[in-house]
Amino acid sequence: MPYIPHTDREREAMLEAIGVKTVDELFADVPAQMRFPRLHLPEPLSEIEALNELRELSEANLETLHTTCFLGAGAYNHFIPSAVQHILLRGEFYTAYTPYQPEICQGTLQAIFEYQSLIAQLTGMEVANASHYDGATATAEAVILALNQVRHRKKIVLSPGLHPQYREVVRTYMQGVDVEIGGDEAPANLQELQERSRADSLASRVDEATALVIAPYPTFLGEVEDLAPLAESVHRKGALLAVVANPIALGLLKPPGEMGADVACGEGQPLGIPLSFGGPYLGFFATRQAFVHKMSGRLVGQTQDTEGRRGYVLTLSAREQHIKRARASSNICTNQGLMALAAAVYLSQMGKQGLRRVAELCYHRAHYAAERLSQVAGFSLASRGPFFHEFVLRCPRPVAEINRFLLDEWGILGGYDLGRDFPGLQGHMLVAVTELNTREDIDSLVTALSELPEKGGLK
């Protein structure tokens, strides 16, 4: 039933009361040619016809269930336990919103509280908020936290190894703010990118005007480094360190909190959220207790009612408009509730050992793939030092050409073309391997690449 509450008679009465004859007259100020664009809609369909058409459209898509995926670069193809979708679709949960009167939805608040607790444990931080839109916006919020915490400093140092889109979003968020963002100037080649992404190189960019350093963990290229020495030198200069982490990697690696990070944030998609053409995803954000008043978004807390029963409340939203009015420094009035729930269910399904196992499988298979692929004639491993589940493969041909061949001839979705973000990195492919890539998948990729036709033999 369409929600159209007024009858024609009521509409006539309203028009008469305001002194116009037709609804069209209300739009008199809008130029006629702008009013009713021709939509050229097709004739109406029956439900059967509509479903058939939609199915045809959906079958024209390529999805990861029917292909072997080596594409990552910030969004990863992981196994999602069936329980995640089942719980998400329950009527009690199935909304993206935190309710406006949140305390009436104790179940929703409890789920957010569990999510926060799990993220705090995973990152090794003291407090996590109720979530953000995605990894990029969570990273931008780290900048705002730092500018409010370390007052009177205006410099932000970005690692050039931070995800290119995150660096863009940070700049978008900072438009019009008196702040200087640097450190990520375009590198001439891979070696320069790798060197300038290293902790000691980042540390050398920090001075007395720096408010925040943002370091990826692993880097966009998949490389991992102990960030504890960086944290130490950043703190010596009176600045803060935000670590943008891959949450699956944290099943295996030392958590940012243990390395001295002041903020740990990142993309929560790998935690039980499907790739879905780029969203909805999940930004996780955790920090120290001392900075909780500068944290954006909201925080759910556990408490007791007057009869001593356990209950959940919105404990803090210190930066938000409904609290700070004109002086608000955040506009996150809600959170990514449904996706946060997915992450909470995923993490509780996996458990500590399960998550570690997923991370180990990713790590070992990626290293197997790197070793095999680097033996294919013309290809070589360009990653230096330890990497997690993504590595750089130097290719003999343009990456786009290779990927076209892999998809057309082998049904394989190849790795990310790094030349798209870094002009100096043409011919470099970022290959991602997860627990869903079997040994056979990897062997197929190796065979496919070794059968890559000679130059000119490609379409």
């Binding site: 007052r151 009177h152 008043h293 210190a318 609290i323 700070k324 009015r325 002086r327």
Partner: protein, 130 residues
């Protein structure tokens, strides 16, 4: 409700006391009672900052509200009360004493004469009680 007679007062519920060239700024007994339990204090102005009348110097949050504290006359911040962030409830207990917020040197000490005296401020507060 206390209205010490040696202080000057603002309509936004700050008090100022001048000793020699240095003025001390805080929030009034009336302000703390209106805010009720204060849970967070942050002095946002830095030592050495030269501010204009009306610039915010501190941010206070209670279980009921969040509010800003403003510098009533132009001046330069000399000292901030470092004990407050770890003891925000001090503002409820001793707003005219230990829980001062900042010390500053007014650009023109005479500007303080424009502020209310204790009697005027008490009447101003009484006028808001209804």
């Amino acid at each position: 409700m206390q209205f010490p007679s040696h202080l000057k007062y603002t309509k936004s519920d700050e008090w100022v006391g001048l000793e020699g060239k240095v003025a001390t700024l805080g929030i009034t007994d009336y302000a703390q009672s209106q805010l009720s339990d204060i849970v967070y204090v942050e002095v946002t102005a830095g030592v050495g900052a030269s501010l204009t009348a009306g610039d915010p110097v501190a941010s206070i949050e209670s279980v009921k509200a969040a509010s800003e504290v403003y510098l009533p006359v132009s001046g330069t911040i000399r000292e901030i009360n470092g004990a407050l962030p770890s003891d925000p409830e001090g503002l409820n207990k001793d707003p005219y004493g230990a829980a001062w917020l900042v010390k500053f040197t007014p650009a023109d000490p005479k500007a303080l004469d424009q502020l209310m005296d204790a009697k005027a401020y008490e009447a101003f507060c009484a006028g808001r009680e209804h």
